[in-house]
Amino acid sequence: MSAERQGEMRILTEGDIVVARKVVRGVANDAGFGLTDVTRIVTAASELTRNVFRYAGAGVLRWRNIDTNSSVGVEFVFEDYGPGIADIPQAMQEGFTTSGGLGLGLPGAKRLMDEFDICSEPGKGTTIKITKWKNK
């Protein structure tokens, strides 16, 4: 049984989006996810890392492996101290964007993962936690 592992990286530059994808891919691969799930997880992480960089300028990505009796999971937390989101239901709507993008980042990332939790306070920042589970 593998020990619980965790780590973190800072999101400071646009290049860190690529770094985050590599880190997340490694974590998901090591946890034993198949290629399609790894692709889902990496793609969700790519959307959320870009959001941190675009909207807040900087933030932190934390990850950890979760091991329960019946399943293993990977959890990623994206935390920033940016402008925050005033209207979360609106931000979760497909096609809503304030950056000229497609508005798929948040709702898309939610669909690709098993769990999606968002906490945000205007002026304070945003924290998003995503989790993917796999049966043992």
């Binding site: 646009e14 690529v18 994808r21 399609t36 692709t39 793609t43 790519s46 709702p107 669909r111 690709l112």
Partner: protein, 124 residues
């Protein structure tokens, strides 16, 4: 940090554009100018965008591909996106991505056949 570049070559009358496996946003952002410049320079009849090496297609990447395809159409040419991996296709659909007016093909061979079948396109 080194990062892989977009490769653009002309084969017969077609532009072959190959995306690296994991391009950063700046590289993806260069796609439009690089492709449109090459299209103008080589007077190509069509464009194959080979994404067979790409293992993550997120919404930014997809938007750049869709916009490039629209710009190529405005210049009177056509884009075929070739070689999307199964895992990428599954993820793109769940994410809700589409590639605008770009046609798609299983691989580069199929993409060339598709361009040949289009009016005014192809490698003849």
């Amino acid at each position: 940090m080194t990062h892989d570049r977009i490769l653009v070559i002309k084969v017969r009358d077609v532009l072959m554009v190959t995306m690296p496996a994991d391009p950063d946003d700046a590289t993806v952002g260069e796609l439009q100018e690089q492709v449109l410049g090459a299209l103008d320079h080589h007077r190509a009849n069509g464009l194959v965008l080979d994404i067979s090496a790409v293992d993550t297609l997120d919404s930014f990447f997809a938007r750049m591909v869709a916009e490039t395809s629209e710009m190529v159409a405005l210049m009177g040419s056509q884009t075929v996106v070739a070689g999307m991996r199964p895992s990428v296709a599954i993820t793109a659909t769940q994410l809700g991505l589409d590639l605008g007016n770009a046609k798609t093909a299983l691989d580069v061979d199929c993409a060339l056949d598709l361009l040949n079948a289009m009016p005014g396109g192809g490698s003849k």
